[in-house]
Amino acid sequence: MSFPHLHVASAYSTHYGVTLPEALAEQTAAQQSAAQAAAPSSSFLAVTDRDGLYGAVKHVRACAQAGIRPGLGADLAVHDDDLYPLGRVVVLAHGHTDGRGYAALCRAVSSAHAGSVHAGSAHGSAAFPSIARSRLAELAGLDSLTVLIGPASDVGLAIGLRDNDGARTRLAAWQRAMPPQSVACEVVCHLSEPGTPGSVTPATRMLALAEYAALPAVLTNAVRYGTPEEAVTADLADAARTLTPLARLDQPQTNGQAWLKPESGMRQVARMVVDAGLHDDDALERLFRDTWRLADQCSLDPDSDIGLGRPRMPEARIIGISGDPFAELWKRARAGVDDRYAGTALGEAAHARLAHEMKTVEHLGFAGYFLTVARVADIVREMGVRIQARGSGVGSVLNYALHTSSVEPIANGLLWERFLSPERQTLPDIDLDVESARRHDIYRTLFDTFGSDRVSLMSMTNAYRGRGAVRDAGLALGMDRDQVAAVAKQIWRFNARDLRRALEEKPELGPLAAEVRGSAQLDLLVDLTAKLDRLPRHISVHPCGVILSDLSLLDRTPVQTSGMGLPMSQFDKHDMDPMGLIKLDILGVRMQSAMAHAVEEHRRLSGESIDLDRIPLDDPATFELIRSTRTLGIFQIESPGQMELVGKLQPEVFNDLTVEISLFRPGPMQNNMPLKYLQARHGEVMPDYIHPRFEPILRETRGVVIFHEQVMRLFDELTGCGLGKADVFRRHLGKPDQLPRIEAYLREAALERGFDTPTIDRIWQVLAGFGSFGFAKAHGAAFALPTYQSAWLKTHHPAVFLAGLLTHAPGMWPKDLIVAEARLLGVPVLGLDVQRSTLIYRVEDLEHERRGIRLPLPELSGSTAAERGRIVRHQPFTSLQDFRDRVRPRRSTFEALARVGALDSFIGYDRTRRHELLAHIQSLRGTAVSIADDQLAFEVELPVLEYAGARFDAVTSLELRGRSQTDLELRDLALAVSGHQMARFYPLFSELGVTPASELINLPGGTEVLLAGVRRATNTPPMRGGRRVVFVSLDDGTGPVSNVVFFHDAQERIGGPVFHAGLMLVRGRTRRSGTKGVSVTGENLWDLTEVARTVRTRHAAEAAAQRVDRASELAAELAALSATNVHHLWPRLRA
């Protein structure tokens, strides 16, 4: 029989509990079914995570699944009115109180996080969540909560010190402070050795204390794991939490007994506890009776107590409406359609579609939801921030009419049912992409507008992945930090639990595998790493989730302060739908910021405003640029794999971009869809529509099924089931056990609708093979819009566009490469200049109608924000003196600015005099004169211009000797703007016969080439066949990156350097992909710096050999000459 555990930490008590709620619930259910007599519904399990309800929703759902009653609580620290700590207690919510108990629990947890207490300790002070006892007492009123006073409470700690009087006094204080019937004593015994915490003695004393105080005593096991085998993992958690190796832990677990024991095990413990002290005869039975009684009291009803599955929208007045939300939505939507479709042929269709959509909205009662999202979109737009909807919501005319989305759904063939239908059980999801740089502003505005009792950020649970798991396991074992780091570095793109297998399979891990075989400790490390993998590690604010609800929000979710200072729910995205919480994904997209930056720079320079949402979507020049594969910097299509696909596909219209983006996904790639589509597109094969009735559905993709929408339409055409039902079928295609049922239904209905069996066989094969892969066309179209917009900017306004890219770094490529691209596009990147550089990449008008991009101040390594702020505030400067007085730069900053040329304006931009300037700055003594911001500077020329004459020949700075501008930039800017960092290797390249990247395009396929350059990116894209393929993008400064593909055999031959070499020389063969595409299949790879060294050594050896040859030649000459006169030969020898 199962035991009603009231104190259980799940794995969501990070670095403490180690078993997931689902496993705990299943274990309880299994213990229940192993017992015979009891009815199944009597089982009970509470989860009481530390400092929160992190695992609460998962627990309640798992209990429902397992058929047991859930309880919820939290293990919280408490302090008194003088902030004196009272230890930790378990706070349990009472059930069947119409949610009063659960609400009080949520508020208690939030309160603990709001009232963090600073505790001094030997290691300094740390803030931790703690609730005031008076606040807890307030919340526990009206029979809402029970507080368990256990071993970790002040009472329990006094018992541990054998201070019985102290324990009685403290318990009395609890009884005085708390409402009646809200306190119980918690008896915990882990059967540890006498004299240690968790032994029978303190447990039996706690029981006696409860009897003395006439309080109920309940038995718990203070559970940290489901099974005894998981105690090892809890040891690791302790080490990770305290950042201390296991061997040096202050308070390791006394033993491994804190597991979810069955009733028999708990009875055994209870017998020993009762036997160890002097108790009444029925003490044992009473302990069990009181435990069950409290469990019954704390059983929560998922519906009436937690409100599971009941959506709650913000109140009408909050979203600015007074009447019926549905009527209001109709009014706005009709007006929106009239406005959006004015002057198009689609007006009538749009109204019809709107009526269809509104029927579903009415049926589901989601009018408030749509108005809320539209209100948020309005708020964002009113802030002047770029916004774009993404996701299946883009398929809705309603969203388009409300201006929530900016992609027109009908002409793009998008479906409402992919987003919402009566058959869909989950809350709808509309994602809004906004400028990343403004995301926090938007959040704050939403909190201000809706009120922080209705809005909260969503959290996300970060789980252990390979590297973190290795590090923490290594820490626990007390291993050498460098050794652990070396192992962690090699864990790349696979899960820690697969480490053992990866060691056997992956060629680049060969050396590590050998080490592991030779070291017991490393072997143990591999074991422990696997134990930590996937365990929740910490929670943090979700990158885009915002929860919008009504005034009851804080009764349903506990909140804590996020890193950005705004309240964050303890629930993650999986908890939203069950909790009926409306979540909006407001995602910061850097490309939106980059484009906004470009538009703003263009407006600043020319006064002309570009409205990106109104540019024509059929600009020939833009498509020409895309087809050229010079897509670096363009949204979504700038990766090496995408460049290749764009080259093959040769997009001509907007829809081609949607198709291209949708094809470049794991599912389609693995199913070879790109090839099938390309063959049909370029006329190599006839499109195969299978049946004429499918042609309208499949025409846009030449017979290849790519989009979810197509699968839905096919289902509908075949069976007449309607698009809503069709979407349900589509989602079930991914579940193999559902396939026979779907197939039977489809065959029967299709035959009835006039399809013949061969057709049905073939289309079923396509649909079943499609699985859950593919892409919603709504997503593809929503992505294609910024793709097109960024391509348009790059085509027509390259300078401002690149400045946007450099400022907001939206893509995968490093700045060096964008700078190189600018150089190739004829946009000069201008050096740092204290007279002109600002905090962001600004564009400057140059002669001949050209524009250049000015490097901003933050690129200077080591300068402070305050220094940069003063430079910008006081620009321009009349003299070096003026600069020094107003900016007051630190010496290091001052010298760095001089070295890179940012102070060249003070020497008339005469670069040759920079060493004099630097020498002068280095010779400056005394502090700068401080000049108030509102004061004029001294107009004194610095004596730097008067350095002249023989006396000053010696005044120079050796720091600049032998260094090129590129060297200096790499030193102080970490970014070379005047030249390319590979330029110094060019003589070597020409000697070795390296092919410049810019020339690759002119070579036929299969040509053997040598390539060299600096690694700019490494990709392991999804591939057909499942074997890993590594793409390395090399930049040699001559043109676009060259992409080298390493297949499995090459990876084995090369090993680690495939991933680790920075500068490299590669031998391979060209591989053509269409007219514009070329890549190289890599066969071997060498570290370029080593190659350079070898060549240098060889040169030296050859030169030496030449000298030897020459010396022997001369010796021979000498021998031939008369021995009397050899002196005339010296000059020749020396030469």
Partner: protein, 90 residues
């Protein structure tokens, strides 16, 4: 001083799962009163393998052979379920 025995024994369990008697040297030793279990932890990280358990299960029992004077014993239960009579405390 306790005497180290360290020999495998057969243990009879009660319906509750507590040891009720053990057979040592062919003689049955009957356990008197409530036996107490103690779990002591190990420093498993010093060994080469990850253990299934991090603690050792010991039962401290009072038992007597027939009518002889009762002794206090430590019984150890290993992970595989087998019992070892570890100590005789006298």
């Amino acid at each position: 001083m306790p005497q180290i025995i360290d020999t495998p024994v057969d243990v009879e369990l009660s319906a509750d799962g507590d040891p009720r008697a053990f057979i040592w040297n062919r003689f049955e030793h009957t356990i008197i009163g409530q036996p107490q279990a103690v779990f002591t932890r190990t420093s498993w990280w010093e060994n080469a393998r990850t253990p299934a358990r991090i603690d050792t299960e010991l039962w401290r029992v009072d038992a007597s052979r027939g009518d002889e004077e009762q002794h206090r014993y430590d019984l150890r239960r290993d992970v595989d379920g087998s019992w070892v009579l570890a100590l005789d405390w006298g």
